[in-house]
């Protein structure tokens, strides 16, 4: 029996099964769950229209939370770097201290950090240390470890062996091999990563206020609670501007390093 004879029949079976699954999901989630009475009234459009007229008088009051957001992202990126260094050391196959054991530990820590959402980390730290910027910083720092440690570990694994050999041949101690053989090779990658993560952390920190972790997110949450949609729109505009500026700075800075 040739493959050519079987493929069309199987394809149609899969297509039918896929369509049925899609129809079931659409019916269950969209058709039954939506408030159709509201959808049919003019309400959704009226609300969206209110978002379209941002309350610019609010902007001045948003500068301080915006600064707080940037500071949170900055501190969190530094803290993330400090936390990521030992994790990268564990998770880099060529320098991991206790073989497979520490390698798996390092890689697992990276996975845990990345697979838990920053909001969940924030909830965790808010309940632990109370409201404010600190739990936000902690959440972002822990969430940053995954990406930072992983790219750093990869940079360490890609180190060229030549300079290391030369320093050993000249009688350099293991510390000097690290300092002159490894660090100069990985430093640009490390700095590039942290800058990139800083940019992402600005984005993340704007939303963390929703769970009480300070910054622009908190302002957003307050406007939302008051159903002040023009205010919400103003906050969203500031967030957008902040992210654009952050991206611009991060792009320039990374180019300067590499």
């Amino acid at each position: 029996m040739s493959v050519g004879q079987r493929t069309p029949r199987y394809a149609s079976v899969w297509l039918l099964a896929g369509l049925m699954a899609f129809a079931f999901c659409a019916h269950d989630i969209l058709v039954r769950d939506t408030d159709w009475a509201r959808m049919m009234s003019g309400h959704p459009w009226e609300t969206l229209a209110r978002f379209a007229r941002p309350d610019f008088t609010l902007i001045a009051d948003l500068l301080e939370p915006a600064l707080e957001t940037v500071l949170m992202a900055t501190l969190a990126s530094f803290a993330g770097l400090v936390l990521a260094l030992p994790v990268a050391w564990l998770g880099a196959a060529n320098i991991t201290p206790f073989g497979q054991l520490s390698f798996v530990l390092g890689r697992s820590l990276m996975t845990v950090s990345r697979s838990v959402h920053e909001m969940v980390w924030a909830l965790l730290f808010v309940s632990a240390v109370g409201l404010g910027a600190l739990p936000g910083i902690l959440a972002l720092a822990v969430r940053s470890v995954g990406f930072l440690a992983r790219t750093m570990a990869e940079a360490i694994e890609d180190v060229a062996p030549g300079p290391i050999e030369a320093i050993r041949a000249a009688g350099g101690s293991p510390f000097k091999v690290l300092l002159f053989g490894i660090v100069p090779q990985v430093l640009p990658a490390f700095i590039g990563c942290v800058i990139f993560e800083w940019d992402i952390n600005i984005r993340r920190s704007t939303i963390l206020g929703l769970v009480g972790a300070g910054g622009l997110g908190l302002a957003l949450f307050r406007q939302m609670a008051r159903a002040d949609y023009a205010g919400v729109a103003a906050v969203i505009l500031v967030v957008l501007a902040l992210i654009l500026v952050g991206e611009l700075i991060s792009d320039r800075a990374r180019r300067a390093v590499i």
Binding site: P163, G172, K176, L179
Partner: protein, 265 residues
């Protein structure tokens, strides 16, 4: 066989006073594969010894066994009268400071300046704090600058190493090795990454600086013509054994051809 040559046997039994390096029955293996099968070799103060042989003959392993970048599995390496094989890491590092090494791929720290790369030859004697801050001692910097000038890179001293051409980088490698004030130079295929004209310049420079400072050289080299032009003595390696040894004038072309034939097959 050379082993049966009575003249050479005598040389083995009573090495000249000026002998810097004495290798006896050196063996090395990578896992199951035996790479060096009992190498004997003397290097005296004004020697320029070329080790020739096809790739895979063990040239690179031999040279790396001497400063134990590759751990030998047997034999003796007497450097300045001290056997290097039983040395613990701190003593080994002290011994390595006296052995300069020049590499095929230069092995510079690309993102650092020529000057910093050359000063690195003195890393073994540099304190941790100085290493961290890169505040090198003035006399060390002066010495490095003089060496950079000697290898013809005076105007490139403050440039980053990755801005230089291949020949220039190898000159930095030579200056770095000299910065150690070595009693022996190990040179591993110094010209394989360079084009032929630059290769001759680099070999000339190595021979000149070695002569000026009376540093013996042990040099792996694939290119027989370069070896014949620059060495005072030649050792032919094949399958981890020394097949012949002698002065360039006394080397029989046929035996050279013979050890390279295996490579073609």
């Amino acid at each position: 066989m050379n082993r049966d040559n009575p003249e050479r046997l005598e040389a083995v039994m009573t090495p000249a006073r000026s002998t810097v390096l004495e290798i006896r029955g050196l063996e090395a293996r990578y896992g199951e594969r035996q790479v060096l099968r009992g190498i004997d070799l003397n290097v005296a103060r004004d020697d320029f010894v070329a080790i020739i042989g096809p790739s895979g003959s063990g040239k690179s392993t031999l040279i790396r066994c001497i400063n134990r970048l590759v751990e030998p599995s047997g034999g003796k390496i007497l450097f300045d009268g001290v056997d290097l094989l039983p040395l613990a890491p701190p003593a080994l590092r002290r011994a390595r400071r006296d052995i300069g090494m020049i590499f095929q791929e230069f092995n510079l720290v690309e993102r650092m300046t020529v000057l910093d790369n050359v000063v690195m030859g003195r890393l073994g004697d540099t304190g941790t704090l100085r290493s961290l801050t890169r505040l090198w001692r003035n006399d060390v910097v002066e010495e490095a600058l003089a060496l950079i000038e000697r290898v013809g890179l005076a105007e490139h001293a403050r440039q980053r190493a990755d801005r230089l051409s291949g020949g220039q980088r190898q000159r930095v490698g030579i200056a770095r090795a000299l910065m150690q004030r070595p009693k022996l130079l190990l040179v591993d295929e110094p010209t394989s990454s360079l084009d032929p004209r630059i290769a001759r310049d680099v070999m000339t420079l190595i021979r000149e600086v070695a002569c000026e400072r009376h540093i013996p050289v042990l040099c792996n080299i694939h290119d027989i013509d370069l070896a014949l032009a620059f060495c005072t003595r030649m050792v032919g390696l094949q399958h981890g054994r020394a097949r012949f040894e002698g002065q360039p004038g006394s080397i029989d072309r046929a035996s050279v051809q013979h050890i390279y034939e295996a490579e073609v097959l």
